[in-house]
Symmetry: C2
Subunit: 263 residues, 2 copies
């Protein structure tokens, strides 16, 4: 009867674990709280989540902590129960060092045909309605291809199935807006902050496939990978040397910094 | 680890039970199979579902059989497991006669602000990504209001949170297309068939809020309610006598007809 299963009525976080601690716990919790606020769910009790996360992460050198928060059980029908009693699921899995490798030689990426769902009311949230990403990810099984890029149904670029996308034009960064589709990635926010701290412009705006093709370089971000430079998108090759490599190195390092407070 | 919970990676059916049997089993199964085909999931073994449904429906005078089919368990990440082993959940709940009342005096309906998610790849399917309907349904708690109507983010009318919508202009029916949002309701299909059998035109096309306001009459359909005439939409009142009441009565009766084969 859980509404997370019935309707995808809930949220999740995917948190990198390093040396027995979650990385960027504060950022993940803030996004989770933004989600509960926008979905009108009671916010989770942070001290409980923290205690549980501490137990799960203990002794794990590299891992992923997945946190699912659903609206809880409810009767038949879409109407949320009032009051709702959210359920939480925390799972930690060890990962190999290879899964957080810096991909110095860059990754291969392709375009997906599956459009990203377009809904301003849900955009930005890491909610449980992820069938678009599931179908996009099932478009390829070539292990050489690390990620697929998605557009919304009108052709606006949204990002990767599991990553946010940044374009570099040689002087400034651009990343797709997340006002109608896409997820407000924790590392996405980190890139915007760190770029600005370095005096680099970082614009959030609507982007087309042509904009991506015209970029000098691309990189992808999420909590596990930090930042991946893109070596190839379809047949287009990118010269990684032209990317802002200092910024990318800083993002990688910061993304892997364990801690309950933001670095 | 079930992907139905993690990503909404699955489908469901809501089937009316009458006198110990599901109604329109064949239609529901066909839609489910359309869904598994479009989501590239293995189709369910119908004889197993049927055996299980038989057991659950036994002795139930009026009820709802909910059938959830997920892609099954999978590891981390959006990529579907190959092969996948779907999980199924069947639940039957008795309902009161009032819940299938014909609503002869019509129902009150309002507009919702929450847009329906727009994605041609997912449109029509009764998949588990239903946060848009959840948020729309949470916009009101007045028990007098039976349903809310939703538009897609561009303003195209999609239908009710849990129903399909039909407009009557005095001579013909129109219902929103379900090519980019909305669900291919089993009773929606029944209305289209029966209207045509009566020599009434029934058009599927893009509709605006203005089209709905200009209608002579409206009715809503789903498997539980059959067909509900709309008496009021916001401040607009409709004269139910001007609706095609013979067709609506036929739909109600057919929707409540138990049977493993289509009537």
């Amino acid at each position: 009867m859980d509404r997370g299963l019935a309707y995808g009525d809930g949220l999740f976080e995917t948190i990198l674990i390093r040396e027995g601690q979650p990385c960027h716990w504060g950022r993940h919790l803030r996004r989770l709280n933004l989600g509960t606020s926008r979905l009108a769910m009671p916010p989770p009790a942070e001290h409980i989540l923290r205690t549980e996360a501490t137990l799960l992460c203990e002794g794990m050198r590299w891992g992923i902590l997945k946190l699912i928060l659903t609206r809880g059980c409810g009767g038949r029908g879409y109407g949320p129960p009032v009051p709702s009693r959210p359920n939480r699921i925390l799972m930690a899995s060890a990962i190999s060092r290879a899964e957080v490798e810096p991909a110095d030689s860059g990754v291969m990426v392709r375009w997906c045909e599956t459009p990203a769902s377009f809904n301003p009311r849900l955009a930005g949230l890491k909610h449980l309605n992820r069938l678009d990403a599931v179908l996009a990810r099932s478009e390829w099984d070539d292990p050489e291809i690390a990620e697929g890029l998605m557009c919304d149904p009108m052709g606006g670029v949204v990002g990767g199935t599991m990553t946010n996308l940044f374009l570099w034009d040689g002087r400034a960064l651009t990343t797709p807006t997340i006002t109608a589709a896409g997820i407000a990635g924790t590392v996405r926010a980190l890139v915007i902050e760190r770029a600005r701290a370095r005096g680099l412009d970082c614009l959030e705006r609507g982007l087309t496939v042509a904009d991506v093709a015209a970029a000098v370089g691309l990189f992808l971000t999420n909590a596990r990978i930090g930042a991946w430079p893109v070596a190839r998108l379809g047949s287009r090759r990118f010269d990684l040397e032209r990317l802002p490599l200092d910024l990318i190195a800083e993002i990688r390092e910061l993304a892997q910094q364990p801690g309950w407070d933001d670095p």
